[in-house]
Amino acid sequence: GGLLCYGNDQAASWLNLADVRSALHVSSAAGNWEACNDTINGAYVQQHNDTTSVFQHILDSQYPLRVLIYNGDVDQACNYLGDQWFIEAFAQTNKLPVTKARADWRYMTQIAGYAKKFDNQNGFSIDLLTVKGAGHMVPTDRPGPALQMMVNFFRNQDY
């Protein structure tokens, strides 16, 4: 019920047009499109109110995985502090070395946020980033920095 500043109404209006549904090959069994299904949200069984054990399983698998955790820093719903504490605690517990100290990253000439890297030199790494001035929907609030961040993550380049 709280995503009302983000154009969901026009998205729903467009997606529920008959010719749009047809163009997208939407099943006749599907109802009207809604951004969020409140029934499922209410019935959903959240099995992890903390995902430390899941991260631990991934790390213990020794699978080489690159992880990017980014946060728009003015979001209340999932705030950057909580995720920072989570990652810092996980890194501390598992003695993940800091391979890049926390420092600003730039978009054009401006500070776009702050980045820190943990890397166990065994293929598992975590990049912990903030996106300055972005809320929950980072690509909406800071589209240029968000695209640069993701492309550089995909290409394993500095942000």
Binding site: L3, V20, S27, C36, T51, S61, L81
Partner: protein, 321 residues
């Protein structure tokens, strides 16, 4: 299926596209059909990575993020036409937007084949894994392509649980065609506990709580415990039960339980601020009041014995107080 799913003409487009796109259904467990919308890269689709996007909720649609966040086009206010997002992530990646779990958006469940009525993280991960396997049968050119799982919000649970399952399947030899390289989570619900604890700090230092309110919580911290981690000795989450809808229900009538629930729930979540961006003004005042009321009514079910703010809200009022 690939050609059948190809999107040839998109109503409302006001400019020409330079990439291919596909929309249709991927098979999850029997009877579950997850709707996907796949946009190939505007860069080099034959070498750029394959990216799966999952929106959180739980219960929100991946198409929401496609149309309002990172996809190649956004709807205009008329609800009929589209404009280009020049910062689309498919500038450099092939992106699958998946409507997950079953029942979300255009995804469907055939009750004659599957009458499962439970939604949880494990089922969501299994359906997504099977949908990915199905995707690679429809689009075999993406076998062994660098692959990333990405998402947002409750994606903080979806993304690691799905990635963990994919690693298990790859290592057991059940999914050798997937070249999993990484995962990315934006503003994720990595830990509901630490989100709640940090919300107190976030609220105070962004001017949502008074000094009196914040100071009153000192008695709720375990000052005798020596720790360098603030959240370990001020573990406010211990006083409340975290509902799956984000609600905070006080464990009892103690001061710490009611005060942390009040600050972490009512002041933080149920104000008329935009919780998704502290500094954003929202100009859909009537709609917002309705939405806020719905949120309060929904959470009220879990907050017996709490101040019933929901009944004090007039949906027809435009007065923000």
């Amino acid at each position: 299926r690939k050609q059948a799913d190809r999107v040839w003409n998109l109503p409302g487009l006001t400019y020409g596209l330079n990439f291919k796109q596909y929309s249709g259904y991927l098979n999850g467990v029997s009877g579950n059909y997850l709707h996907y919308w796949f946009v190939e890269s505007q860069g080099n689709p034959s070498t750029d990575p394959l990216v799966l996007w999952l929106t959180g909720g739980p219960g929100c649609s991946g198409l929401m993020a496609m149309l309002l966040e990172l996809g190649p086009f956004h709807p205009n206010p008329d609800g009929k036409t589209l404009f280009e997002n020049v910062y689309s992530w498919n500038k450099a990646a092939n992106v699958i937007f998946l409507e997950s779990p079953r029942g979300v958006g255009f995804s469907v469940q055939d009750q004659s084949l599957n009458n499962d009525t439970i939604w949880d993280d494990e089922r969501t991960a299994t359906d997504t894994y099977l949908a990915l396997k199905d995707f690679l049968t429809v689009f075999p050119e993406y076998i062994n392509r660098p692959f990333f799982v990405t998402g947002e919000s409750y994606g903080g649970v979806y993304v690691p649980t799905i990635t963990s399952l994919l690693i298990d399947k790859i290592q057991s030899g059940d999914f050798p065609q997937l070249n999993l390289v990484g995962m990315s989570i934006g503003n994720g619900e990595l830990s509901a506990v630490q989100q709640f604890n940090s919300a107190i700090m976030m609220g105070y230092f962004h001017g949502l709580f008074s000094k009196d309110n914040f100071d009153s919580l000192q008695q709720c911290c375990n000052q005798t415990k020596s720790s360098s981690q603030w959240f370990e000795y001020c573990n406010f989450a211990q006083y409340i039960h975290l509902g799956s809808d984000g609600s905070a229900i006080p464990n009892d009538n103690s001061f710490c339980a009611t005060q942390t629930a009040y600050l972490g729930q009512q002041i933080f979540w149920d104000s008329l601020n935009n919780v998704y961006n502290i500094y954003q003004d929202c100009y859909q005042q009537d709609v917002r009041a309705f939405g806020s009321r719905m949120t309060i009514q929904n959470k009220k079910k879990h907050m017996k014995g709490f101040i019933d703010q929901g009944n004090k809200v007039s949906v027809s009022s435009t007065d923000s107080q």
